[in-house]
């Protein structure tokens, strides 16, 4: 009786294993193949510099204060962006800055492999964040 019981359950399990023997693998060979990043994916930021009005809305809403933004009033009384740094040592990719941006010039792209050798290299400046650079990747 007991032997029958032991056999039954294991055979049933092995049947499932057997059917999987002939199935295609489902793993994604990640470094060789691109990782799956849907359109809403929250990766590194992208900034459309010309649209920025230096309103500091993103800076104010940021929970970890990872942004340093400076600008000056240009000749036509419009604000010109001088410095826009995001410190990826601190950023937690929460999307609050993107939602807060009134001219919708701050976005988040699909880039996520942003590791660097030093803490300083993780502070991204205007050139690193530029929309054009992000698109060219």
């Amino acid at each position: 009786m007991r032997v029958k019981q032991i056999g039954g359950g294991l055979v049933k399990g092995l049947k499932v294993t057997g059917t999987h023997l002939f199935r295609q693998p489902v793993t994604r060979p990640y470094p060789e193949q691109h990782a799956y990043t849907p359109p809403r994916f929250r990766g590194a930021h992208r900034l459309i510099e010309d649209d920025c009005v230096v309103c500091h809305a993103c800076d104010r809403v940021c929970p970890v204060n990872c942004m340093t933004i400076k600008g000056y009033r240009g000749e036509d009384r419009k604000f010109v962006l001088e410095q826009f740094d995001i410190d990826y040592n601190l950023c937690m990719f929460c999307n609050l800055c993107v939602e807060a941006c009134p001219p919708k010039c701050l976005l988040m792209g699909p880039e996520f492999e942003i590791s660097a050798a030093t803490h300083n290299d993780l502070v991204w400046t205007l050139e690193d964040l530029s929309y054009e650079r992000g698109e060219s990747l």
């Binding site: 489902v26 937690m92 999307n95």
Partner: protein, 371 residues
């Protein structure tokens, strides 16, 4: 006589399990007192992952704190968000549009499935079965992909907002979830075939770590831990919130209170979640996903307690406001912490190898225990 007392079998041995041990599911440390291979005492040490989330709520504004609940219980972040956002909404008095409520239900049940799947895989790894882990992670990956398409992140969703949701769901996404539920039902049968009748697994987990009904209530256990001991207590039914006011939620219980019952309750709960997802997907209505809320949200004077039924049990947030944008005080009631209280009762008298299986069946997440 003296020789026998001093012999190695008579001496108590102190064994340090964790904090860097895979079977403790994170940075949890247990100091076990052993006589031979039998456990005679347990001293749990926690706090290795303490990040001060309760204090942080006093230093961040209500809006700024929204991404933080994701980091409490990183395996079921939607429930943490729901607990915090729900508490805030109850305190401020925000009405959430119906579509947002339905979508919240969908993402929460999806998240419950993914959390239970991770538990199932790791629990079976604890008792020595490798392959179910691969099966469950295949399906979990599918759910995480769905949630990533909707929210933009795999674990730290940051999806719920005061008054609604960050994004609306497209029809294509809802169709994908529907297809996913059908696919998952088929796969679920595979798990049951693979595991349920496996005599080795059954003998390994049956009749160990027993906790009876009265003791479960006295320890304040909740979720599958309590329901496996015969306490028919599910907040989705007992104290319904959000969309659960409109649907009938089956409460799954077992009487025995052992590790096997906890396994059965969680397995049945996954099936119940699939049923709920069907209901949600059929009745989700069109409309806005965000209510009209002021830009600078302030918590009014007063206090509230809001709790949700997470995959591990009752997850509550006690929130005190004082008219500013910051919370005056916030206290989290994490289910894993309370379920861990019963640990010494569960473990004493068992073998060391059973300790790993019993701890696995409690399903702790240290991010939530330590906060």
């Amino acid at each position: 006589m003296i020789a026998e007392r001093d012999s190695i079998t008579q001496e108590e041995l102190v064994l340090n399990l964790g904090p860097q041990h895979p079977s403790t599911h994170g940075v949890f440390r247990m100091v076990l007192d052993l006589r031979g291979e039998t456990i005679v005492g347990v001293t749990p040490h926690m706090g290795y992952l303490h990040r001060g989330f309760e204090k942080l709520a006093e230093r961040r504004t209500a809006v700024q704190y929204q991404p933080y609940p994701d980091r409490w219980d990183y395996l079921a972040a939607m429930f943490d968000e729901m607990a915090y956002i729900g508490a805030g909404e109850a305190l401020i008095g925000i009405e959430v549009p119906p579509r947002a409520e339905w979508l919240r239900g969908i993402v929460m049940e999806l998240n419950r499935l993914s959390s239970h799947l991770l538990w199932l895989g790791t629990f079976l790894l604890d008792v020595g079965a490798l392959s179910p882990f691969l099966y469950t992670f295949r399906e979990r990956e599918m759910i995480l992909d769905l949630l990533m398409e909707l929210t933009g992140a795999r674990l730290t969703y940051s999806y719920l907002r005061f008054g609604g949701l960050a994004h609306d769901a497209e029809d294509l996404w809802l169709k994908k979830v529907k297809a996913g539920v059908r696919y998952f039902r088929r796969r679920f049968r595979e798990y049951r075939d693979l595991i349920d009748e496996n005599e080795i697994f059954r003998r390994r987990v049956q009749n160990i770590g027993v906790i009876d009904r009265d003791r479960a209530i006295r320890y304040g256990l909740s979720g599958p831990m309590a329901r496996a001991s015969g306490v028919a207590w599910d907040l989705r039914r007992g104290r319904p919130y959000g969309i659960y006011r409109q649907v009938e939620v089956p409460v799954i219980t077992r009487e025995k209170g052992d590790t096997w019952s906890r396994y059965e309750v969680r397995m049945d709960e996954m099936e119940a979640s699939l049923g709920l997802l069907d209901v949600f997907l059929d009745s989700v209505e069109a409309g806005p996903v965000m209510a009209k809320v002021p830009k600078n949200i302030k918590f009014p004077d007063g206090e509230t307690y809001f709790s949700v039924e997470g995959p591990r049990g009752e997850l509550g947030v006690y929130l005190v406001g004082d008219g500013t944008a910051h919370a005056k005080r916030m206290k989290i009631r994490p289910p894993s912490l309370f379920n861990l209280q019963a640990l010494s009762h569960l473990l004493v008298g068992h073998m060391v190898s059973d300790a790993v299986a019993i701890l696995g069946s409690v399903d702790i997440v240290l991010g939530e225990v330590d906060r």
